[in-house]
Amino acid sequence: MTAELRLADQVLDLVRRTGLAAEAEVLVDWQAQGLTRFANSFIHQHVAEETTTVQLVLHADGRTATATTTRTDSDGLRQLVERTVASVRVAPPDPGWPGLTPPANAHGQAGFDPATAAATGQERAARVRGFVDAAGLPAAGYCETRTFRSAYANTAGQSATDETTSATLDGIARRDGVDGTARLVSTRLADVDGAWLGAQAAAKAHAGVDPVELPPGRYEVVLEPTAVADLLTNFALWGFSGLLYAQGRSFAELGAAQFDPVVTLVDDPFAEGSPGMAFDAEGTPKQRLVLVEEGVTRAVAHDRRTAAMVGGQARSTGHALPGGHAGGLGAIPRHLGLLPSGQSVPASSAAGEVGVAHPTAADLVRSVERGLLVTDLWYTRVLDPKSMVVTGLTRNGVWLIEHGTITSPVMNLRFTQSYPQALAPGAVKGVGDAVTVLPTRLGRGAIRAPALHLAAWNFTGGASG
């Protein structure tokens, strides 16, 4: 039994001793994080923490209360239970309570690397040294290692434990006011090659000098994996959230051909290189979930509450987050991937020839008569979740492609674009043949993205406004 599961059982025992006839579930998350940030080619922020968070959910007499604490001594746990019991007695009624997860096997998938779990500040600093030296330009970014150990237990008899690791390096190289970037996440720090990433970022920065300003308009585009990661992140947040779907605020229509047939989207916490756990915050086992199959929308991500809201055949897909719906977004697929062409998912790593275009985008560039190569989409915000119209900007490198060749760097552009329309039937001209595993702003997870060749992208403003 792990220390985390012992803590979970201890809390359940304290709940039972109160005499309250309640359904109870406990989630214990232990996290060790080390993060080494660099800017202007030196380490300027370097932090580490070890934190245990205990979450208790109680449901009694039709009311629900959730509480967490980082205090794991006996006083801290006792006060957690007392506070939650007091709250559930006076909380407003909760008719949407979906009940506890019944006993079910939740198997880990070996996404844990002991060497990464033991990584020191010196090891992260060495990756940073490699990036900075290889870039040979002013550089900035971070190297991070994280270890997660979780345990879940409830009064219905479900219990589970798992652990995983992640290692990330994300950096830019800077020259004459333009930036180039490279990044990667893996479950193993050994996969993170700081020197290759630094060289790739520098190649982009060198190729971005003296950009031209292009007029706004619709351009054919090749999106590098880093830009595709933004598409997938926004689809995860706004498109495949079971909560927004239940409320009629998602674009998703199950069974409808909403995407080009070359688009297959899969949420897979166990894909190689992706840090994933075997169960979600409600103890539901996780599994590979096909959200879009050859252009047809098949599923959205559910927790128990959103599945109950939808009713019918809907079931939790193992996507409950700690804190439930307190963040307003509900269940979210945090390991979303776009399958590469050929339907195979090669292992990702920082490998291949260093160049202006990411190695996985180079083939797509050759098929463009006139268009733009885009490295990153930045500060993207949804104007309306139902239509998924998004505004944002390009970042870290844009180039004009003419007759299959990169001919000139381009200043950053602002866009206003419906993401589902960008991937609609007939709109996707090509998908890269390999995926890169990338960090996501969705928290504990990763995005698997190939490059993408799209028929049109709506740029609505240039550098001058």
Binding site: Q45, H46, A48, R124, R441
Partner: protein, 478 residues
């Protein structure tokens, strides 16, 4: 052993391990939030967090370590590990630098609070939101949401220079939103802003919002927006409501004047700034109506405190005066690098996070007009209010905002409601076009400002009032 003793043990351990400066924050925070949807409680969340974070300086390199354990042994371990991390940072060292000097302070400070928000019965707080959301459903909303949030944070700060400060800050706020869902899009209306209005106040802040009296109108407006005409495309005179202007200040002024961004310390993630320190004191940021202060002393505003997380006392200063850029948000290390003699804007999202340059209250001084006077003086324009979307480039220049609602302004009168209003521009061009500013200042609170890695959520205040801008591009759409 008191919290101060624990913090002092950590600082001493960091010094013993080789640090030339160290500070420690013992923190305790309670948080409570309730999310209500369509008359039912969707989430009731209560959190307690306690621990210690230690910052150590070795040469020019920082290290930081945090633990949720307040035993003396853990505190000493945290101090030692912070120094070890700083020593690892020296593998990729920066230029030598110092900290701008401040006087060591022994003090105690607490924010004003008439009615402890955590002591207000849950049932009462729940009744408020369930009643409001049912009202919105009754008046045409397809989805009705209500939210309140409460933070009660106490910090004990000790530095190797002799600081010993305890500080208790209570913050809370609430808001409601109505969404109407159409065939191809949804429309949302919120009061007083999406996610709510927040301050360093007690529950009296929420009572004064009077959520119930706005619920019906919100729902009716959301429904009406589904069939309202689209905001036209083109250049026009734009009037912004105070809530939207607060976010405009936050994004295009507040982040731009963060010294760590200006120095390139956030280049890879949050971005840099279009501002160049060589222009400080000379650059015309906006029109002469533009007077923006950095002021953590405003009673009740969300960015207020007695001391920042480096122990610098709260102090008011100008960021922009008569349209000219004159000040930045700074910390002790960034100010020293920049050759400035003031800090005071460094904060951390709890004990487990490294303090960094953050906005406090960054906002406008009052103008000479009222909103009604501005409307009456406008022959042809659009009034937009309450933010719906925001996006700005990594230098804080090129922005595009969407608002929940717009109104046509014709011949000095408010006309038709407009759907999907958006506007876009370049920061300094936009601010230089401001030709009317209201005196109706409200210290808007933003409780979700993301910055840093690991991501830290900051609480910022932005005094703002309605204002008018000329020749603004509006109606951008897909």
């Amino acid at each position: 052993m008191s919290q101060f003793d624990v913090a002092e043990a950590a600082v001493q351990a960091a010094l013993d391990a080789g640090a030339r400066y160290a500070d420690a924050r013992v923190g305790h925070r309670r948080y409570e939030s309730m999310t209500v949807r369509n008359g039912d409680v969707e989430a009731l969340q209560q959190e307690e967090s306690a621990g210690i974070g230690v910052r150590a300086l070795v040469g020019s390199s920082w290290g930081f370590f945090a633990l949720p354990d307040l035993s003396p042994r853990a505190a000493r371990s945290a101090g030692t590990r912070a120094t070890e991390i700083a020593q690892a940072s020296a593998m990729v060292p920066g230029p030598a630098s110092e900290l701008v000097p401040i006087n060591p302070v022994v003090a105690s400070w607490a924010s004003e609070c008439e009615e402890d928000p955590l002591s207000v019965p849950l049932a009462e707080k729940g009744d408020l939101l369930t009643t409001a959301t049912r009202l919105m459903l009754d008046h045409g909303a397809d989805q009705a949401e209500g939210l309140y949030q409460i933070w009660d944070t106490t910090t004990w700060f000790v530095s190797s220079e002799g600081h010993r400060i305890d500080q208790r800050i209570r913050e809370c706020g609430a808001g409601i939103s109505a969404t109407a869902v159409g065939e191809h899009e949804s429309q949302r209306r919120s009061y007083p802003s999406y996610g709510g209005q927040y301050g360093t106040r007690g529950w009296e802040l929420v009572r004064r919002l009077d959520l119930l009296s706005h619920a019906a109108e919100l729902a009716e407006q959301a429904r009406a927006l589904l069939t309202a005409p689209l905001c036209p495309e083109g250049e026009t005179t734009l009037i912004l409501g105070g809530e939207q202007l607060a976010l405009q200040i936050h994004e295009s002024v507040g982040h731009a004047i963060e010294l760590d961004r200006i120095l390139g310390w956030e280049a890879a993630f949050a971005g840099t700034s279009w501002l160049d320190l060589s222009q400080l004191g000379q650059l015309q940021y906006g029109s002469e109506l533009m007077n923006i202060t950095i002021d953590p002393t405003i009673p009740g505003a969300l960015g207020s405190f007695g001391f920042d997380d480096e122990g610098t006392p709260a102090m008011r200063r100008y960021a922009v005066r008569d349209g000219r850029w004159v000040g930045v948000l700074a910390g002790r290390d960034s100010a020293a690098v920049a050759g400035l003699d003031y800090a005071g804007s460094v904060r951390a999202d709890g004990w487990a996070r490294l303090p960094m340059v953050r906005m406090t209250n960054v906002g406008l001084e009052p103008g000479p007009h009222t909103l009604e006077e501005i409307i009456a003086a406008t022959d042809d324009g659009i009034l937009m209010d309450v933010n719906r979307s925001w996006s700005i480039d990594d230098r804080r220049l090129n922005f595009q905002f969407g608002c929940e609602i717009g109104w046509e302004i014709k011949n000095g009168r408010r006309g038709r409601m407009l759907r999907n209003p958006t506007y876009t521009g370049i920061g300094p061009v936009f601010w230089r076009s401001m030709d009317m500013l209201s005196s109706e200042i409200v210290p808007w609170g933003i409780p979700n400002c993301g910055k840093g890695q690991p991501l830290q959520i900051g609480h910022t205040g932005h005094p703002a009032a309605p204002a008018r801008f000329r020749n603004v591009r509006v109606g951008v759409r897909a």
